[in-house]
Symmetry: C2
Subunit: 398 residues, 2 copies
């Protein structure tokens, strides 16, 4: 006799549709996908990356294939301190950085560091679906604070903190948020940090898109504004170099870093050394800023194209965000429309396009009339054809 | 005001010395290390691996750098089913395999799948230190069953199961165990499976060393003897190809695989695709069995050398295991000697050799008079010099 009840409670909640389910159901070649948050294939610096792997083996010899440290190679962490200075405006030491398996693992590590079952945490509504999947593993009590055009609703945030004063952290994506593309204003960044001090919580600043700004001026990161070691900053090479490298990093106060290091060792011992030495070699021999500028030019054009088509074709009852950077546009349908049912029903059949419905992007799993569009991965032709098809279809039904 | 009490309870237990602490304290060039469980640097097929990375980029094009699936590429999972057949005697489908960040991540995934706080689990005493660090994150109640020369003490196991009938799983390393080198007999394997049926628990078979047998005959794996989907089998390319690839895999019944896939997505989305395609290319263009035979010849010689020196030089009050394969020999000191204090005190100062003391390798953290020696990584010269120094030092004090 054997029962599925051997599974931990975290796996029995049936939290509903996962993003992988959507992609499984929509995997057909004649659909145009605006679903996954992928970079443009054609924009990978693949020759330089291949050369970087070659160099890593040449430079390091046989030892490159051996076990190495948990934190990641010092030489790469030194280069990351320069990135952190340039792109996040923070002055950190190499010892303050831990390499992770993409930003995703860093989010899991945050859950593992802070969360007991039923602890209170605050997330944006909507938020990154992968963060919810990672944090679900720790069975927190989520409290959702709605996003406004300039970031979290600070009044709602303060009401939530009054109601849940033991809140352990606020998880936020302040720059070109996933999934909305919204950027948090400077005033709200300062207010969030002041509240963190007042209510004694940590801020998890997940900011992988920050490098990719197409309009407007860069605002200070939360980590740069932080005076009291309250921010855990998560970044990644996935959006600016290559996701398949599975390389992200986090930085935090030294006392937290010591705990995160123990957690990283428990999770998978250490990062893949060869990949990290290849990234190090890439950064030594290429101009990352120049590559980011090139990416930004490509993605700016695609964003402008998608915005233009949406503006021209969407009915008035449907609205959407105009992000200054990142990967995503967020579309809001009339409240009566369930974007999941729409996708899996007539949208796939008639418009043959794929998006990520809002349901799974809210901790509550209750808000259903929005969806996320990715504009970085599809070709310009696919954007023209697919988004026109999408908008015309919505015109019929909204 | 900010308090470390924000940390989850799992990080406040102060479970004592970690293996990384030992290596931090002993990192000096004039010490000879038998501590970490490393392959021989000189035995990496580094040219073939470099070529395999090159081929992966050539064959896959730009897409190799993109996001991919959570489970790992189908083509590599197909090849793993062949490995599973040859080395573990099991007939599985590619869909039954998930690629992981080394075997370590698979152990963490097992904890995440099964364990609520304070759940009962059974581990061998001693066991793999990294498994304890991973499972500690789920705050289980450990019950330790002592090892005998032919594997777990089955009488103690049954008594433990009678006392803790809700035990969720038994974690075992049946082949050339880490840290003892002990292999579980066929009778005990059959008994363990019968008990699993009787007491309704899962068996976690962690078997990364199974490929590397230097004497005696291969016994059936627990997975091969399992008729009822009770075994989760964990394996890895770290010991037979290269640890820096950070690639392991697990296989289990289809209903468990579905849960493990959700867990893998939550932990880090997906494995590093380029590395996996390089492994696939390596397996397509090289004879893994031949490489394993070459490794086994190297490691057999080193094992024999270490055993011979220990036999010749150890005092009678000190005993040690003679493993048929794997990476480790386990040394037992008189009960009055604390191997941790010995290491950090006179052993380092006088004998200048490093081992892993037993304390951290028992879930109880209470058994202190043993230590683990690795024989695969040190050179023959280092084995001769270091083990002679160790044995002569022990002769003085035991």
């Amino acid at each position: 006799m054997k029962t599925i009840s051997k599974l931990a409670s975290r796996n029995q909640t049936g939290a509903g549709l996962k993003i992988n389910d959507i992609f499984a159901e929509t995997a057909q070649t004649d659909n145009i996908s605006f679903g996954m948050g992928l970079p443009d294939n054609a924009a990978f610096p693949s020759e330089a990356l291949e050369e970087a792997f070659h160099q890593a083996v040449i430079n390091e010899g046989m030892g490159v294939f051996q076990y190495h440290g948990t934190q990641g190679p010092q030489v790469l962490r030194e280069k990351i301190t320069q990135l952190a200075d340039r792109y996040y405006g923070i002055d950190i030491a190499a010892d303050d950085v831990i390499l992770t398996q993409g930003g995703q693992q860093a989010i899991d590590m945050v859950g593992r560091a802070f969360l007991n079952q039923h602890d209170d945490i605050i997330v944006e509504g909507p938020t990154y679906v992968g963060a919810l999947e990672a944090l679900d593993g720790y069975e927190p009590n989520y409290h959702e604070v709605p996003l406004q055009a300039d970031g979290m609703d600070m009044e709602q945030l303060e009401l939530t903190l009054q109601k849940y004063p033991a809140t352990k952290f606020v998880y936020t994506i302040p720059d070109f948020q996933n999934p909305t593309g919204i950027t948090m204003s400077l005033e709200k960044r300062q207010r969030l940090l002041a509240l963190a001090e007042q209510y004694d919580f940590y801020i998890i600043e997940d900011s992988p898109y920050r490098y990719l700004r197409y309009s407007g001026d860069m605002l200070p990161s939360l980590a740069a504004l932080d005076q009291n070691g309250r921010v855990v900053l998560i970044s990644s090479f996935s959006k600016i170099l290559a996701p398949a490298l599975r390389t992200g990093w986090l930085t935090a106060s030294p006392e937290l870093i010591a705990h995160f290091l123990e957690i990283k060792a428990a999770l998978d011992l250490q990062p893949p050394h060869l990949n990290l030495m290849a990234i190090d070699s890439f950064l030594a021999n290429n101009d990352l800023a120049e590559h980011i500028a090139k990416l930004s030019a490509i993605y700016r054009t695609k964003r402008d194209l998608m915005v233009t088509i949406l503006e021209k074709n969407l009915p008035e009852s449907v609205s959407f965000t105009r992000p200054d950077g990142g990967f995503f546009i967020w579309v809001t349908l009339p409240e009566s429309i369930d974007a999941t049912k729409l996708l899996l029903g007539p949208m796939l059949k008639e418009a043959k396009i794929i998006y990520v419905p809002s349901e799974m992007q809210y901790a509550s799993r209750q808000v259903k009339n929005h969806f996320r569009l990715n504009f970085t991965n599809p070709s310009s032709t696919d954007i023209e054809v697919g988004i026109t098809r999408l908008a015309q279809f919505l015109k019929k039904i909204c």
